[in-house]
Symmetry: C3
Subunit: 162 residues, 3 copies
């Protein structure tokens, strides 16, 4: 029986690895629809209670404050005009109960008969496994406007595990 | 042996869940290449026989009619100029033999030396498991131009299961 | 025991299929961050040693030469201005130790207060399984500017296996 135990354990470990990657994809696929519909409670639910979001100035601290982003003035106007916050399929490096996801975000903003790419950013998402699933412990977002910090986010994410 | 049966069944259920998510990703990844190459038979093959596509006016009914979209005038011109119909990685909620996928679509249209974002939409895809795999029972597409209906598509998709 | 052997083998085959798809997604998610941060060694590591990249003129041959793309003049300027090379979630057809992935690439280029879609292309990636994982044997990229070759890349990728 110990051989069978070992084989079950090996398959379970592989399945768990796949589930981690797909669960994090789902988290990413939830983000845009939540902010573009101003469903802040869903946005907040993606973050750990003490999670943070750093997009340049002082970081937002706490899931509730991150969710409140959908209620600030520029965001309200974006949504009223029509906008799409789209995340790319991220690179994911899982290390036990922690993970780092690296990828792009873009904001498309309606201009009447077309959409303008209002933002294109590099993102590093530090994730933590909780009893309720993967949550964002910290997201760092930097505009891809030539600043070295944006490039560093991208390279550090894919250099560690490739 | 019944313990072993139960363990096989548990792993099979988890694997099936992963396959569902990845099979639906594949369906999504087939859509754009089929319409941008005007391969309507492949577009049609993604829909259930009696599936529908609602993008504003009267919905298209039947897989064949959905596939025929690639032969209408504006689409022919888009493809002749050069276009890309790109879907985002969707949020997926599977419930037995039904699933709802929620995400974005964008149409990029060539303008000579650059591409213009001609459409950016919210999408709700209601899917059904068939003997041949997952198929689209109904797709609803609404431009993200500020209309509340687009936001409702996004919020309803991610509120139910997150 | 032979029944149990067969069941383990069946699950292992399904898990391997899922791992193939997700490993190729990871390869795709590594590409953009590597080129937009000019980390050519990571770009090169995605290609097979004798892999090629055909984007119109004479193809680049060899992983090292593909990685050197990040050091050519136009690319250096793109990165200095701020750019994002974003790949869509690809359609994947695995056949043993070979695979074909089909999808879109876009290059977003900073223009001060917005980003311009500088390139939108059809891509065919021929992949090979190596002891170190999936690698690119050949990538073909054609601008979606109305040229039939771009449409052929898209249709051939999704016609074979759907």
């Amino acid at each position: 029986m110990s051989d069978i135990e070992a084989r079950f354990a090996a398959l379970e470990a592989r399945i768990k690895g796949l589930e981690d990657q797909l669960d994090i994809y789902q988290l990413f696929a939830t983000y845009g629809p939540s902010v573009d519909s101003r469903t802040g409670s869903v946005t907040a639910s993606l973050w750990a209670k003490d999670g943070t979001y750093d997009f340049g100035g002082d970081p937002l601290v706490g899931a509730g404050n991150v969710g409140s982003l959908v209620d600030i003035e520029p965001h309200i106007h974006y949504v009223a005009d029509g906008c799409a916050h789209v995340l790319s399929m991220p690179h994911i490096a899982v290390d036990g109960d922690r993970a780092v996801a690296t990828g792009y975000s873009r904001v498309y903003l309606n201009q009447g008969d077309h959409w303008r790419v209002e933002r294109a950013s590099a993102n590093r998402w530090e994730l933590v496994r909780t009893p309720e699933g993967w949550r964002v412990q910290n997201r760092v977002n930097r505009l891809l406007d030539g600043q070295p910090e944006a490039r560093d986010l991208l390279s550090s994410g894919v250099t560690q595990s490739s």
